[in-house]
């Protein structure tokens, strides 16, 4: 059972936007009763059927790495966080619909996570500002999720949703808006569930399948290189 293939998805966002509640909802289909501050990183696993309903259906594990902290924290904390950004296959960016600043900080979050992966190849040309071209040729699929939808008043809903639509366009990503304390938003068959499924399929495809549909010969779950660099310690 543990020999299924797996993919790693990061869940990033400001403090208090609802990442832990979201991950709990995605993996256990239950609402998180007592949310508390995430120190370091908390992981959860979801079993996902790739290409459900077709003959090529295959089950994968999706690991959600929910990294805590704020984007403006000390550089020591940032360096420590960077250890979790190794070999990421997908990124979920979470922001709070009631707080505009958390949406703006998503740019910095994505740069922090993406730059970490670029470092080994030596390509690090950014002064921290948002650069659209960087997202254009980005290979890692992104998904933007807005939380606390229930706290937005009906009258303001339209303008908030247009703003988030622009945000998702900037990242070249799909977007989902929901309320993490209500499992009905992700009920099977709803448009949100379909988008989520599509995102997971995309992540799995990018990782395991080449352009022409052939499967990349997969390595077994873990391979430890003695004395290797940090990246190869978590080779998948």
């Amino acid at each position: 059972m543990a020999s299924l293939d797996r993919v790693k998805v990061l869940v990033l966002g400001d403090s208090g936007v609802g990442k832990s509640s979201l991950v709990h909802l995605l993996c256990q289909n239950q609402v998180l009763g007592n949310p508390s501050w995430t120190v370091g990183c908390s992981v959860d696993v979801r079993v996902h059927d790739y290409k459900e309903g077709t003959p090529e259906e295959k089950t994968y594990y999706i690991e959600f790495w929910d990294v805590g902290g704020s984007v403006g924290s000390a550089s020591s904390v940032k360096s420590t966080r960077a250890v979790f950004y190794n070999s990421v296959n997908g990124i979920i960016l979470v922001h709070d619909l009631t707080n505009k600043k958390s949406s703006q900080n998503l740019y910095r979050w994505s740069l922090e996570a993406l730059n970490r992966d670029l470092v080994p190849t030596g390509v690090l040309v950014t002064n921290g500002d948002y650069d659209r071209e960087q997202f254009a040729d980005n290979q890692i699929p992104l998904l933007v999720i807005g939380t606390k939808l229930d706290q937005i008043h009906e009258t303001k809903r339209h303008e908030v949703l247009t703003r988030t639509a622009f945000l998702a366009e900037d990242f070249n990503a799909e977007e989902i808006n929901l309320d993490c304390t209500n499992p009905r938003y992700l009920a099977a068959g709803s448009s949100n569930a379909v988008k989520l499924s599509r995102f997971f399929d995309k992540v799995i495809e990018k990782r395991y399948f080449l352009r022409d549909g052939n499967q990349i010969p997969g390595f077994p779950d873990r391979k430890r290189f003695a004395g290797g660099t940090l990246k190869s310690l978590h080779y998948d």
């Binding site: 600043k101 900080n105 310690l233």
Partner: protein
């Protein structure tokens, strides 16, 4: 006429401070958040503006800017407004916002916030019991009562803060306390952290698979909810969910370990940065300052202990004495009043450390000194019982001078 000009100057400066407080709030304090209740921002900016205005008025007293009577009027007005805000508005709003966050009390939040405010007022009043604030000259419902209590809280807070700062500052600056951290340490710790995460992941995978098979077989995993649910779950439980709880406990322990490892790694990175910093010029300068401050800190602790044990009244602190001696030695002609006032301000700030315990005994001694000060000037707004002796030295020193205006000034400043 001059009163109008003075008032307009004061009001413009107040508006400037208000704007500055507003900007500071928006740019620094609420950098990552959105302001939902503008009341908070307004109250913050108003408190900031009035505090800065009081400070500005003191400077004006020293420099002699503006008309004396208009200064006096503005001072009284400022004092009343600040007391109103500090004692009535801010605690009430704090209570109101706390109560609004609790779902249960949401309906009657006004009532509960009033109750909270009354509790606060009770404890606030009780605060003045150990101190001889009630004097026959001023009634019980006078402004002195409020200011004295606010002063007690303020001086205690400052003493705590400066005590903490005195110890924390050398510890942060000195490079003597830095552990030696190498890159290999950090890499080893990170490796352990990732291994722990991998273990957590494999356990969670087992749990997810178990849950999925249970779901497919049609068993529903019920979390024991409520009292009867818990009693039932003691006797009957499906084997699958038993497994889950066991694995969940292991996962909890591993997660705690991963948190500790994360914090340790962050600590190591921070120490490494400090080591890098201490090698720079600025780092070396702060290291030197650290040694100086640690000696100063030890001296202050020693003197405070002596003061408390022997029930002495502390005079000036070493820094003020040092500055006085240097000034006299160099023979520089300063405006004596301005110099003395700034020195006394500095010494008051310094001597607030750890002498609040002794201030009670001092306060009784000060009673006599203050009453003599009182008798010369009809309108002393605040008794100085709770302030330490440094301030009252002023009163003595300047009573010796014949100049009446100095006395007036000092009795005002002693508010």
């Amino acid at each position: 006429m001059s009163f109008l000009i003075d008032s307009s100057i004061m009001i413009t400066s107040q508006i400037l401070f208000f704007g500055f407080g507003w900007l500071f709030f928006m740019r620094q304090l609420f950098k990552d958040y959105e302001v939902r209740q503008y009341v908070v921002q307004v109250i913050f900016s108003v408190t900031f503006a009035f505090s800065c205005t009081m400070f500005e008025l003191i400077i004006f007293e020293i420099l002699g800017v503006l008309n004396s009577s208009s200064r006096y009027f503005h001072w009284k007005m400022n004092l009343c407004v600040i007391l109103l805000i500090l004692v009535f508005m801010v605690p009430f709003y704090i209570g109101y916002f706390i109560v609004s966050n609790i779902r249960l009390l949401h309906k009657q939040r006004l009532l509960f916030s009033c109750l909270l405010w009354l509790t606060f007022m009770y404890f606030f009043w009780k605060l003045g019991d150990p101190f001889p604030i009630l004097s026959p000259k001023h009634g019980i419902l006078s402004i002195e009562q409020l200011i004295s209590r606010v002063g007690v809280i303020g001086v205690t807070l400052m003493a705590l803060l400066s005590g903490f700062g005195a110890v924390n500052c050398p510890y942060t600056y000195l490079s003597y306390f830095l552990r030696n951290v190498t890159d290999t340490d950090i890499v080893a710790l990170e490796r352990r952290l990732l291994q722990t995460m991998d273990m957590i992941i494999s356990k969670k995978k087992r749990m997810a698979m178990t849950r999925r098979t249970m779901f497919q077989k049609g068993e529903v995993h019920n979390k024991p909810s409520g009292f009867w649910g818990m009693i039932k779950s003691v006797t009957t439980s499906a084997p699958g969910s038993e497994n889950l709880t066991l694995i969940q406990q292991e996962v909890d322990a591993l997660e705690e370990l991963s948190r500790q490892l994360f914090l340790e790694t962050a600590d190591l990175y921070a120490t490494k940065e400090r080591i890098e910093y201490s090698k720079t010029f600025k780092g070396k300068y702060f290291n030197f300052l650290g040694y100086f401050f640690s000696i100063y800190c030890v001296w202050k602790i020693f003197m405070a202990t002596i003061n408390i044990v022997f029930d002495r009244v502390g005079k000036t602190d070493p820094v003020t004495r040092g500055i006085e001696i240097t000034v006299n030695y160099l023979g520089i002609q300063f405006d004596m009043l301005a110099m003395q006032l700034t020195l006394r301000c500095f010494s008051a700030l310094n001597q607030a450390q750890g002498i609040t315990a002794a201030s009670h005994s001092e306060a009784i001694q000060e009673e006599k000194k203050v009453s003599s000060c009182d008798s010369d000037e009809g309108e002393v707004l605040v008794p100085t019982h709770f302030l330490h002796s440094g301030w009252n030295n002023h009163c003595h020193v300047y009573q010796r001078t014949a100049d009446h205006s100095y006395q007036v000034l000092l009795c005002h400043i002693q508010q």
